[in-house]
Symmetry: D2
Amino acid sequence: MIPTTMRAVVKAEMAPGARMETVAVPRIGPRDVLVRVRATTICGTDLHIYRWDPWAQSRIKPPMVFGHEFSGDVVACGDEVTNIRLDDFVSGETHIVCGHCYSCRTGQTHICRNVKIIGVDRPGCFAEYIALPASNAWVNDPSLDPAIAAAQEPFGNAVHTALSTDLVTKTVLVTGCGPIGLFAIGIARAAGAARIFATDINLNRLEMARTMGADDPLDSRSDVVATILSATDGEGVDVLLEMSGVPVAIDQGFRALRPGGFAALLGLPGKPINGFDLANHIVFKGVTIYGVSGRKMYETWYQTRALLGDGRVDISPIITHRLPLEAYEQAFEMMISGEAAKVALFPDGGSQS
Amino acid sequence: MIPTTMRAVVKAEMAPGARMETVAVPRIGPRDVLVRVRATTICGTDLHIYRWDPWAQSRIKPPMVFGHEFSGDVVACGDEVTNIRLDDFVSGETHIVCGHCYSCRTGQTHICRNVKIIGVDRPGCFAEYIALPASNAWVNDPSLDPAIAAAQEPFGNAVHTALSTDLVTKTVLVTGCGPIGLFAIGIARAAGAARIFATDINLNRLEMARTMGADDPLDSRSDVVATILSATDGEGVDVLLEMSGVPVAIDQGFRALRPGGFAALLGLPGKPINGFDLANHIVFKGVTIYGVSGRKMYETWYQTRALLGDGRVDISPIITHRLPLEAYEQAFEMMISGEAAKVALFPDGGSQS
Amino acid sequence: MIPTTMRAVVKAEMAPGARMETVAVPRIGPRDVLVRVRATTICGTDLHIYRWDPWAQSRIKPPMVFGHEFSGDVVACGDEVTNIRLDDFVSGETHIVCGHCYSCRTGQTHICRNVKIIGVDRPGCFAEYIALPASNAWVNDPSLDPAIAAAQEPFGNAVHTALSTDLVTKTVLVTGCGPIGLFAIGIARAAGAARIFATDINLNRLEMARTMGADDPLDSRSDVVATILSATDGEGVDVLLEMSGVPVAIDQGFRALRPGGFAALLGLPGKPINGFDLANHIVFKGVTIYGVSGRKMYETWYQTRALLGDGRVDISPIITHRLPLEAYEQAFEMMISGEAAKVALFPDGGSQS
Amino acid sequence: MIPTTMRAVVKAEMAPGARMETVAVPRIGPRDVLVRVRATTICGTDLHIYRWDPWAQSRIKPPMVFGHEFSGDVVACGDEVTNIRLDDFVSGETHIVCGHCYSCRTGQTHICRNVKIIGVDRPGCFAEYIALPASNAWVNDPSLDPAIAAAQEPFGNAVHTALSTDLVTKTVLVTGCGPIGLFAIGIARAAGAARIFATDINLNRLEMARTMGADDPLDSRSDVVATILSATDGEGVDVLLEMSGVPVAIDQGFRALRPGGFAALLGLPGKPINGFDLANHIVFKGVTIYGVSGRKMYETWYQTRALLGDGRVDISPIITHRLPLEAYEQAFEMMISGEAAKVALFPDGGSQS
């Protein structure tokens, strides 16, 4: 039996913070499914909303349940749903696309012009239940750890980034060892990269980078460029995966990239950047750059399934904390402080793995 | 009979200006050819050298003959030359590559780490004769106009840029209508672009853009982005060809580019640029960017031959002036003032077409 | 007012021939549209059905209205239709895809494993009305000639084939000058091909090939390979577009293809072919081959719109005959005899252009 | 001191067999190097020459030293050699290219129209010394096993084949488990393939396939296609690597390939094949095929270095026998019988690893 109300973490006011409230269980349309959430993980975007930064102020309309990384069991299907069944264990693709714009009509739904994002533009998953279109539900192997199943969404960002070029036999630099950068290191290793450099200023994160497979974790306050050029016969790395959004890291990344190299950019600078050396970073070097938005729907999810299956990439070390949903404030603060990498929350109060 | 001395335009001193002098005809090695210059065209790089700007001061070592765009007749071949014959009418690929670096060994000689450039790092073509490696000599159809034959080198930059993605049925924006931008417009037209937008602040150049095939020449001081979005159902253009190096044009270009679009960047900003909106220009839009250096050796030259043959692209309107080599100062000044687009100089004193 | 019955050409029995009958106007579901047919064109597939050949016997289940190339006006929309409006002038994408298989979920709907084809697996358009999913309706410019609008479906096959590689500056061989081959010639011309060779045994078709832009129409009974090698400095053509399905033409095509060339194969041999020289045609030459099925949905349609707009490609010479729907038998016979290239039929009895 | 004569295995007559003879040490030109051979491995091509089959009769001009897979020490350099030094430990790229044809001038030297092959068109390496152009000498890490260093040439064929598409997360079928097929399995594993199927009729080879990383070694006399479809949710494999040249295996491979899949073809059928189902194998499925000739020069060699370094791919199990050069007849017979996979011969009489 599906109840009519549920507990949820709500962005209640146009101010910092969040509240646990009792709200209505979402209703579903004919092509939607209702999912009982087993695990949800916290994204940097959620921290922006929690802290109510300028981006959040411009985009979020309280009161709203937020959160968008989740896994759970299907407990109801709309009348027209054919591809999902009751009790399927699913994760959610966060981007609800329009289906009608040029991007959607040409197989590039990840850059739909009219995208609505779960937990940003419509109610999210920091709750006992969430509704979403059946076409956005991804069926998991029932044996997959619910926290890892939830983290597939951000892992997919790393997959989209890392696999936007062929990595086998390549030297790779990952700038920024937040969760997505750490995921990318594991993916690059699984994809046969010859040597993986990784930079961050957080030494704990550099240690995690090594755990995920980085050969050369480098403090970005050191002379990263000289180190990399020296290690690559003066050529530089074949591939840059930019995960930080930090101007100095972006600059280091491009300086360490070889002529003709490839850069995939996922990190988001908070504002336009100054002193970007476009002539030397891009033109003279003849590099190719790819901007990464979301996940390819659903090629990235198939790749994700293959990478997480059989333990090819083990992301469990990155999910550093597992807490009941009620501990959301503690969880947010641990992520803001950098104490935690990825935190999983469990609406049923448990902290199962 | 090859004389021992020749007239040449020499960068004689570490100061602005240039002098016509009598210098030795260059000697050739066993794999070089000697070319009697029929026509030479002036590049923006030559103006930097002439004016002795900071870049020139850091790179050029006077005294040296400069100039690098030329065509002429082979009058001597080194002992080991097999692919070029006496009397061949040739143009020159400017980039002398090392053959040993990673780029050279993997079919990417256009980004050779050890490149030497004719007229910059070694003696150039503002002269009656020039020596170059036989492998850098490109044999032309004897009927090709010598001035156009000389201009194939910068035309090749436009070819490399414009054909770095497929243009047929695409909407294209060319930012910057200098000679290479104008070439690119003609190439995009020949390649089947659906609609070509072009921007510049020089109205005369916009008129030339129309001549070359631009559908929508736009004053870049107008609201270019709004105009383009309106003309493309709000999507933006499929392809940006950035030929200006001007930050405001680069910004307009990326704002007018559709999600998932492609940008080829050839223009060189004089210094690192401020306020580059990497998040919105690249990441969120999921665009692909390609930096363009030189010409693909020699794929670009084959493409150039096909485009200039049979009048598919007619670049004669862009060669606005034809003067004897002795008029080099007048020619430089006309280009600096913007009065001329491309000027051809003729060492034999004529101005034949 | 929409009537309840209509005239339609029906494959009535499991035997050669077809009959004009009065049948029910199709009913539509909530996501379908009903279209009043203005023009329909005849495809080779329709001739297979008409003649009741082995393929037709294995696939078609009479009685059924057949035909699949059409244009017309939307006269009714299902309740959930949002992207199509009454009175839109539309053409139809023939492939109704499942949306759930791997191909569909990864942007490759043109190779959906569960595709249903209009006029083959479900009722077709040789009729006054046709029903189809709204997502398969492509909105045309109201000024487009209805016969050309109908022929966009097979034109799209040619677009998919010809634009599967970059043609600008390339030498191209089109083997087979049926309607799709002729379309491909026009497309290659618009895409900037340097030189277009075309082969057929029908001299009338070779004349049409010239009209569409072929530089070298060649009787395939002549020494096509020697002619092409001679015309291309012994290299062979850059691109083969195989439109015939005839083994001897396929063999000629591969022999005339240069090392490293690209072949797109659309023609369907009636049965497995003997004597296919895989070692010399593919392996030693290092060629790339792409098999062409259907149209990319809907990238091909956007390309089609751009190519047919503004007269870039004029396919009106290929629509050699325009008849009322009642003259369907005459039309089929004219196509079978080769007298007609493409025939358009008009259910309202007219033959407007 | 370099002697004037050496022992070598010579194809002495236009008849089956080979003889060990004393012949002159090769002389070198100004851009060549002379290499003292440390190890040489035997290729299937050598068996054709030994057995004097129709291909050998049409191509080989006795008397000639044959063999082309080798490693050794540089003992002399021509006057103009700059990139190779005395005592460098090198392997040899077998294809001596012209440098002037379209392929060579556009970065595709692996399909040079005028290629000369070591051991086929000019003297080979079944000898104490071999001469080759310095540009064809690839410098190895001095610690690399000489037999593995020699086998890099055929390993490069496998690299070129396997890395012609992105394999990470993909399902792969390797048809044919000769040495190059076995190499390809190891490469696919290192490249992150999700699941590797391999077929052969030799059960011993299937066992080696498992050693190299195949998940599913399959006897090609079983219902390979049904097994693969069943294991892949009915989709088929993403990638086919065809290494056998056997028509039945080629047919199985294409039938087991998913719609939209990719096939790289390296195996050479001995003659044109009958019953090739081009419509179903290529056109309807919308597959892409790439023919593999030689090695990309020298991208493949860089990839090879990265794959063999640090033990990412261990090919030592495939070098099943190590013998002195004098035992060449025993070696050929062991390979012909299938008893040996790859045999290494050592001119200095040893059998070091």
